[in-house]
Symmetry: C3
Subunit: 372 residues, 3 copies
């Protein structure tokens, strides 16, 4: 039924050597050259419903306050007081009462980061409130997704997203609302999570349930792009969606075209968003690298508000299906992490179904250099 019609690959495409996955210094390099330079998925606009709403993002040693400002705009700042360095906010999310006040000595900042009060600093020569604003971080949104960028002067988010906004316009993601969230903490390098997501060669053995709903050889990948990797798979005949039973209790999203209703889209927007679009819902995985061998993954299921408003709405048919599938993926990714750490590990050959993985390897090595 499905032939392996993709072009041949050469034997020069091999998995990366071990240090790319196991060396703490290479991991630090990746943070510096990739995560602190590129647009990162931070969350969803709906998490900041009103002025003063905020949540924290933690990456490496950095803590970032993402908030809604008085002008309804979104802002992001390093969570560091300019006096003695104290973290200003400590709860993962909440609402700030009109200003950001340091809990230590009451230095007070506006929602656009200006220092407006610094008690008893009048006897310090040369002190000027204007010199001690919070340090801003670039922030932008796309169809309800919030992205931040640690780089001082980043290129626009739209440039990063390339043709994706046009490609995924039909989903009107800005209208979707979160119905469930699971945070996973796994003992594997962040690249192994993206690589696992970027091929379905493993599906027949690892995900028999998924394989029954969507054939692993179906669909096609886009050619690898500089900032994203992705493709589409088809739902089998008679299957309405990816869920425990393949049946969808939820209406198809309004505005989807016919072929968009018969497939599932798997895109890795580098370096930290896995965007997974279904005919009835959106699934996102936001990856937070914690160490060379540890990654936190925030997984969110979002539906159309009409569905959430419906009496008896229940996302569990999709949540349970993916929670099972996720755990299968995390477990095998952890096995990969451990095996790669062995002295016996040697870079292996890729099949022609793993061209996106090879593209990720090149993406990383171009930015961080080859380890060893």
């Amino acid at each position: 039924m499905y032939d392996n019609t993709r072009p041949e690959v050469g034997s020069e495409a091999r998995t990366l050597s071990a240090r790319h996955y196991t060396a703490p210094d290479y991991f630090q390099q990746e943070l510096e050259k990739i995560h602190y330079q590129m647009w990162l998925h931070a969350g969803r606009v709906e998490q900041l419903p009103k002025v003063g709403s905020y949540f924290l993002i933690e990456l490496g040693m950095e803590s970032v306050i993402v908030l809604r400002s008085e002008d309804q705009g979104l802002r992001a700042f390093y969570n560091v007081c300019r006096h003695r360095g104290t973290q200003l906010c400590q709860h993962a999310s909440g609402t700030l009462p009109g200003k950001i006040q340091c809990p230590y000595h009451a230095w007070t900042y506006t929602f656009d980061g200006r220092l407006i009060n610094a008690p008893l600093m009048d006897k310090t020569r040369g002190f000027d409130l204007r010199d001690h604003s919070l340090q801003p971080i670039a922030i932008d949104t796309w169809d309800g997704h919030i992205f931040i960028n640690f780089a001082p002067d980043p290129s626009p988010l739209l440039e990063h997203l390339a043709d994706l906004p046009a490609k995924f316009r039909s989903w009107k993601m800005e209208h979707l609302r979160q119905a469930a969230e699971i945070v996973y903490s796994i003992e594997a390098n962040w690249k192994l999570v993206i690589q696992n997501y970027s091929e379905c060669l493993h599906c027949p053995l690892l995900h028999p349930q998924l394989q029954q709903l969507s054939h692993y050889m179906s669909g096609e990948n886009d050619p690898p792009r500089p900032t994203y990797l992705g493709g589409r798979m088809d739902l089998r005949d008679g299957v309405e969606t990816l869920s425990q039973d393949g049946i969808s209790p939820w209406a198809t999203l309004p505005g989807l075209r016919e072929y968009e209703r018969r497939g599932v889209y798997y895109y890795a927007i580098l370096p930290n968003l896995l965007l997974n679009l279904h005919p009835q819902y959106m699934l996102t995985f936001t990856l937070w690298p914690k160490a060379c061998d540890r990654t936190d993954i925030v997984c969110r299921w979002s539906f159309h508000p009409n569905e959430l408003a419906r009496e008896g709405f229940d996302p569990s048919n999709a949540v349970d299906f993916w929670d099972l599938t996720n755990r299968q993926d995390w477990e095998v990714s952890e096995l990969a992490q451990r095996g790669i750490s062995s002295r016996a590990y040697r870079p292996g050959l890729y099949s022609n179904r793993e061209e996106l993985l090879s593209a990720l390897d090149r993406f990383v090595v171009e930015r961080c250099g080859a380890a060893d």
Copy 2:
């Protein structure tokens, strides 16, 4: 009511750069150049009531036996057998039966450290009991406080204490007896604990209870000294002591002068004792740095023996007040530790109420060099 009449400070006085608080190698340097060179508060004489009483001190990789010898004098030794290096004592405190015997091969030492038995060493050529005494550590006392010094030939404790014995003679600390102890383990650098203790600029926001009893602008600091930093704050009118309700169930210590009865004394005797003297009780914080971002703090409340002997004596009015205040301080110190670890942290300007913090910075940099 209180004006900020202290002299202006210049903008050259800034907080230390991050590595002073976050680099494991700088922390190791601090142990070597500060803690292993200076007099350290180890505990109280009353902890060693009789011959053979001992307690252990742990700092870095070092374990020290502090004991009362046959001549009633105090001794301190490295807790290391001269045979194969085994730790001689393993319990935090206790009583030794007339000698120190290694649990491994029964090498046996007197309370002044001499090896008196080493079974079956007679066939080792050149072995002489006299060559294998325990390695001593300097020990001395001041008004009931025990200090030890890892340096081979330290200058006298009295020199280290400078004018403090005269200044605090009225409290007759050697008569006081411990009524409560809490050990805290916090995730912050030891310097942040001293810095938190050395200014009350944070009190109005962080300690509203304390602020009601003692105004944060009251009192005055001594000029910074080479071995200690400190000052005094006033009790507000009608306030008898620092306690939950400002009322003292305990008599004022005999011998205090009038102005000593109306204030609280906050002294940091470098590098590890925070001495906090109240009209009715003594509070001490003994700091044990564990890592660049971790410190154990032994907090002890001591009262006059007449009070402890009184029926229904209850220290909780003071203990609960300080336990709450301490936890507020530890939490904000941990926030400072985390914020300082950010790439966004820059040394900030001090106010003229933070001159003791700046003095601590200079003390550290003089001994250990500037990091970066």
Copy 3:
């Protein structure tokens, strides 16, 4: 009754300096130069009763599959798929169904390591199944003991064992069967465990029960050998075995000679097997170094199958005795580890009862160099 008739030792024989026990880099050196080069005790043949039976060995970052192959022979392989490095087996032991299949992409290997299936690799130019066999590890057995060797081309196990097979032939260890197992995890360097095992100078103080059954000055050691260290101790008159009460509910092993029935044999087969032979049972300790200051110890008690088949068979008289003795030994070894970590630790003199410890020191330094 027992004189210390062993020859004198010189004062040049001293314990190793601290870094040999406390430096992570020296520990890594030991793994490379000792454990990854020498024959290691892996377990017992009875653990692999049938074709497909397997267990895993974990050392450093390495995981090894030890299994019984179709030809009934034993095989060992690195637990690493040749595709993308995934660990093939994740449970500590079990049975494999006719082949070794990677759980990720179904690459499939025979029990002798040949790759026989690699789905969808046909479009990778130059891919040949024969180039991707599992990486083998040397394996051999001695009287029911399984040994593995990470070295690519090791000298024969029999050479390593020297005269031990002849010396311990009477025990017919291949017939014995395991009746109990305890795994200990202790905070001490692996060498301290061997050193503790290699002298009984500590027995009178640390093991009063053992001392009642077997006098610490009894017996004699073999001269140190390049690959093992050991000796024998005598049972006291009237004592049948080492057990809680010195009485043996079990028959003496058939085939033991008279003097073998009146002693206990303590041999350290370097670097990781402590073989402890009693007249009625075998006790083994398999040491797995985890870090410079951490060792896992698998302790097994094995008896004659006639005893295990006897109604009411109960090994606890021996298990409880040794579990108590072991815990005494582990505790004092942990005290040694901590004391050696002190700056006060200096290499100490050995007695003439500790010549095997000195031999172990030389063994390590010859292979790994002297630290410092």
